[in-house]
Amino acid sequence: MEIFSWILTIATIVAIYSILGLALNIHFGYTNLPNFGIAGFFAVGAYASAILTAPHRFRQMEIFAGFAGGMPGRFEYPFIVGIIAAIVFAAIIGFLIGIPLLRLREDYLAVASIGVAEAIHYFALNELWLTTGSAGIRLIPMPTGNRYLFFILVLFILAIVFWITQRFYRTHIGRVWRGVREDEVITSSLGKSIFSARMWAWVVGCAMMGVAGSLWAHYAMAIQPGEFVPTTTFLVWIFVMVGGLRNNWGILFGAVLIIGFFEQGTRFLPALGAPYIMPAVRHIIVGLLLILVIRFRPQGAIPERAARIEAHI
């Protein structure tokens, strides 16, 4: 029945955004690294995967239309190569960017990371030889052929990412991260290197964002630089804060709530006046929601739950 195919579409998008949310949880929720450059790493993953998997036909079209053609369409590698490349590139670029950024105090880090994401966005816009610029990359193959199987795939990957995030929370590395979050001086006095802890958290999160990017590219089958703008980042932040920072279930909840129901639900409402008003109203409500949540329920809908040793051992 078609309605399910629609739900499926939305569910896929929600799942992909949930991965971004979980990554942000590792960055900000666990380690207190406010990453406002999510869109950037999302883009890195998407482009890495798209460039490596786009078919020759795309390149021919580019050349036909009078463009250089460039990298996309040269390789035609399978999806698995694409997604691995997405992870690797996102991790490497995250590492390189982390070197200057991770020295900064949290709020400076936040602002600087916005700049980084914008730089990546403009890079994608202008390096035609690599990304074909604003035209973007299309004809990206969907690995499983049909959306239903792809949804299973996305769900599977989401499950893995979710498990990894949970696992990190419960094992030592997660404790170190949260120790860094709570008090760096103490944690380092207990023999844990602050910098490597932050860097690990940062790189792991960036890699996850890369995965999300790759999935998005193969799901949309077409990407343009215009998608990877700060608004994307802010959307992720908002649903993470609303759903419940530091609690992975809360993040899933937030994603379903904001990305799924809120954004889609408004599509069913009749347009009020000029067409641009409805999205504006939607954004206003999202903004107010964020403000109110932080004011009156800062821990979000589903807060962090104290881990019990009995459950652990």
Binding site: R167, T171, H172, V185, L190, G191, A307
Partner: protein, 253 residues
């Protein structure tokens, strides 16, 4: 007895203020040494320098014959020198057991990949650590609160928590900054007992900064007296109690 730790005239300036002005100290193994001195004498500052939080402007610090000044706090800790803080600083949003579980050195789960892949190793090691921690918490009277968030503990309990955390790093030299501050009389007694027992059983050397005289005089030997970042006197309790300069600047002055 062999020297485990010595610091030769350490200087540290904050702008114009001489926080440490050529302070020197030498610790023998398995002793409980105390640093006393009026407020602002630079006791905590010395801890911060020894712990690697502030780099010293001048002077050398040796631990087990290795030079450790200029190292990061975590590197110093890994060498076997752990310090606690004057105002108990707990990792508030983490439970008590997590706080202590954070301390043990080179755990398998510390590397991201082994945390994901080496299930068995991680599990068994954490079980082992927990057994140690369990008994330790029992001794420290924290077992009941093991699943509490650390921020909900009383001041005394936080001290206990901090000390237990420090112990779990299995140090050879443990530097305690006012371990009994804010603790009730009983808690103070418990802490003193714990310190002595650890010295005798585990052979840990202690360096203690303390204000409570009864603690110092009953527990520590030798005692260093610090005054405006300088050594004023040192020796066993009797000598200190009878030392004129000390009496002047410190005891009743």
């Amino acid at each position: 007895m062999a020297t485990i730790f010595n610091a030769n005239d350490i200087y540290l300036y904050f702008g114009g203020i001489k926080a440490l002005d050529g302070f020197s100290i030498e610790l023998d193994e398995k002793t409980i040494t105390a640093i006393i001195g009026p407020n602002g004498a630079g006791k905590t500052t010395f801890f911060n320098v020894a712990g690697g939080i502030y780099p010293a402007d001048r002077g050398e610090i040796y631990f087990k014959g290795e030079r450790i000044d200029g190292l990061r706090p975590d590197q110093i800790c890994l060498k076997g020198l752990t310090r606690t803080f004057q105002i108990a600083r707990e990792l508030g949003e983490m439970t008590v057991w997590e706080n202590v579980m954070l301390a043990p050195k080179n755990q398998v789960g510390e590397k991201a990949f082994s945390a994901l892949l080496k299930w068995g190793a991680v599990k068994s090691q954490e079980k082992g650590n927990w057994q140690k921690i369990e008994s330790l918490l029992n001794d420290m009277g924290l077992y009941e609160e093991r699943n509490e968030l650390a921020k909900n503990l009383s001041a005394g309990k936080r001290k206990m928590l901090e000390i237990s955390r420090a112990i779990m790093t299995e140090p050879e030299l443990l530097m305690l900054d006012e371990p009994t501050a804010g603790a009730t009389v009983d808690e103070t007694k418990a802490i003193m007992k714990a310190i002595e027992r650890l010295r005798d059983e585990k052979g840990i050397t202690f360096l203690v900064v303390e204000h409570k005289m009864e603690v110092i005089m009953n527990l520590c030997n030798p005692i260093y007296v610090m005054y405006y970042g300088r050594n004023l006197a040192n020796g066993d309790p009797e000598t200190i109690q009878t030392d004129k300069r000390v009496l002047e600047v410190y005891l009743g002055g």
